[in-house]
């Protein structure tokens, strides 16, 4: 009884604990910004990575006030169980809420991965007042996401002292590094993010096998992110294509084999027919037409017993047992 009571207590505590865990699902932070920004932080869901740089009011799922000290908080326990890509952004005073600024010191957004269990904190550097250099902590996949952003920004803003070859080499190195991240990370959205940031569209033509292999690795992932990516990879079912080719080849070979068999059978039948006497051949013709023994005897003016004897001889020579076999033979 006591044990049962204890079980109930444990169960109750577990439920409480789960509520406690869920209560910690927050996105909070502190952004030090100048007075040109409107004091509202917007949270948007990025449905697929093709729309990473899309902006509309329909994408915004919630907004929070940016306090005087730069703090903001979102309760995100309503997010989905599975990880998704989100964006927070702010708008300049006078700009509409659905406002996207890419590049420069006014870049107004940050991407991060979260789910309904996440507890994420975003803080920028008070010395720079930039949104884009804010650090995201609290959920491990975001660290790799930031690493990707840092790599891209470094190459984008680095001064290569007028050397276009050096820049080209660095761009190639960046692309390879991002592909390496995509290969090694265990997080599907991070992997895709790395590929999108590498501008994979231009590598796709030269190296389609890499992307086909990548999709094979994530074959079981049926999220919207991967479904959209799959559409952009041509012949991603190249293995299936190979199988199809194999099936066509097998069909062709089987066809040839069956044709040979058919001709051999025909040849054999012809040779068997050659064994029949003239009378037997006539009777076979009647049998083929479905005539009865009596009809055959009347047609050929012979006794029924003779007909029967000829039929038995035909059966024996053609290695068949019945009239049905005769019909089948000529079908």
């Amino acid at each position: 009884m006591r044990l049962l009571k204890n079980k109930h207590v444990i169960f109750f505590l577990l439920i409480l604990l789960s509520f406690q865990i869920r209560a910690h699902s927050v996105l909070k932070g502190q952004l030090y910004l100048d007075s040109t920004w409107a004091p509202t932080v917007y949270l948007s869901l990025i449905p697929d990575l093709d729309n990473i740089y899309s902006m509309s009011n329909n994408m915004i799922i919630e907004n929070a006030e940016l306090k005087d000290n730069g703090e903001f908080i979102f309760n995100i326990d309503y997010l989905t169980d599975e990880d998704k890509l989100y964006r927070i952004h702010l708008s300049k005073k006078g700009d509409p809420p659905a406002s996207l600024i890419i590049g420069g010191k006014d870049e107004n957004h940050l991407f991060f991965i979260a789910n309904n269990q996440s507890s994420i904190e975003i803080k920028n550097n008070p010395a720079t007042n930039l949104i884009s250099d804010a650090a995201i902590s609290g959920y491990l996949p975001n660290e790799t996401l930031q690493e990707i952003n840092r790599l891209v920004l470094y190459i984008d803003t680095a001064d290569f002292s007028g050397s276009s070859i050096k820049r080209e080499l660095m761009n190639t190195a960046l692309s390879e590094k991002l592909k390496e991240i995509a290969d090694t990370t265990s997080h599907p959205i991070v992997a895709l993010y790395a590929l999108y940031k590498s501008k994979y569209e231009y590598d796709l033509e030269e190296n389609p096998q890499y992307y086909q292999r990548f999709l094979e690795k994530w074959e079981s992932n049926r999220s919207g992110y991967f479904n959209e990516f799959r559409k952009s990879i041509p012949n991603n079912n190249y293995h299936k294509k190979h199988y199809n080719l194999l099936f066509i080849l097998l069909g062709f070979i089987t066809g040839i084999f069956l044709t040979i068999l058919f001709f051999q059978y025909k040849k054999k039948r012809k040779s068997l027919l050659n064994n029949l006497t003239n009378q037997e051949r006539k009777i076979l013709k009647y049998l083929k037409n479905g005539n009865s023994n009596k009809e055959i005897s009347e047609e050929l003016n012979i006794e029924i017993s003779t007909v029967k004897s000829h039929i038995n001889s035909i059966y024996s020579k053609l290695k068949i047992n019945s009239r049905k076999d005769v019909m089948n033979m000529f079908d």
Binding site: M55, S56, D95, I102, G104, R167
Partner: protein
């Protein structure tokens, strides 16, 4: 002696000319600004291309493209002379813009505004025609393109 003086003055003159030339070259900056307003229904879904000629004389090409839509969807692409899309973004109003016909007065239309801006610097930009491609779909809005070819790494 006279010859030496002549030679020296000639050298000095040459140096002066060369120095001025170099300075003039480093100060060379080419600005190009263009603004497009889409107000008419006939223009609402017509693709627009703004061409920026890059002469390759400067180290940097700065491009700032700002756009606003009150209806419809607008996609902006920056395409380099090799035809490669360097950057792109899309802004979308929740008002689809179907009501944008010539019979509807602008004042009576319901708007939902979205804006997008991209600020991008290209180091050693490819010589040739850079294209800013605007792909509108039932858009009532505005596009502004500011470009600057200069040797200064930051935009003026």
């Amino acid at each position: 002696m006279k010859k030496t003086a002549k030679l020296l003055s000639l050298l000095m003159l040459t140096n002066l000319i060369l120095f001025n030339c170099v300075q003039a070259q480093s100060d060379f900056s080419l600005d190009y600004n263009r603004s497009i307003q889409i107000k008419a229904a006939s223009e609402a879904s017509k693709i627009k291309e703004i061409k920026v000629e890059c002469y390759g004389r400067n180290k940097y090409l700065h491009l700032v493209i700002s756009s606003w839509v009150k209806t419809g969807t607008l996609k902006i692409e920056i395409i380099d002379p090799a035809g490669k899309t360097q950057e792109s973004f899309k802004i979308e109003s929740s008002v689809a813009g179907e009501e944008m016909d010539n019979t509807t007065p602008v004042e009576s239309m319901i708007f939902d505004e979205a804006s997008g801006k991209i600020s991008k610097t290209f180091e050693n930009p490819m010589k040739g025609i850079w294209i800013i491609k605007a792909i509108p779909k039932l858009v009532y809005g505005k596009i502004e393109v500011n470009s600057q070819q200069t040797d200064i790494p930051k935009l003026h």
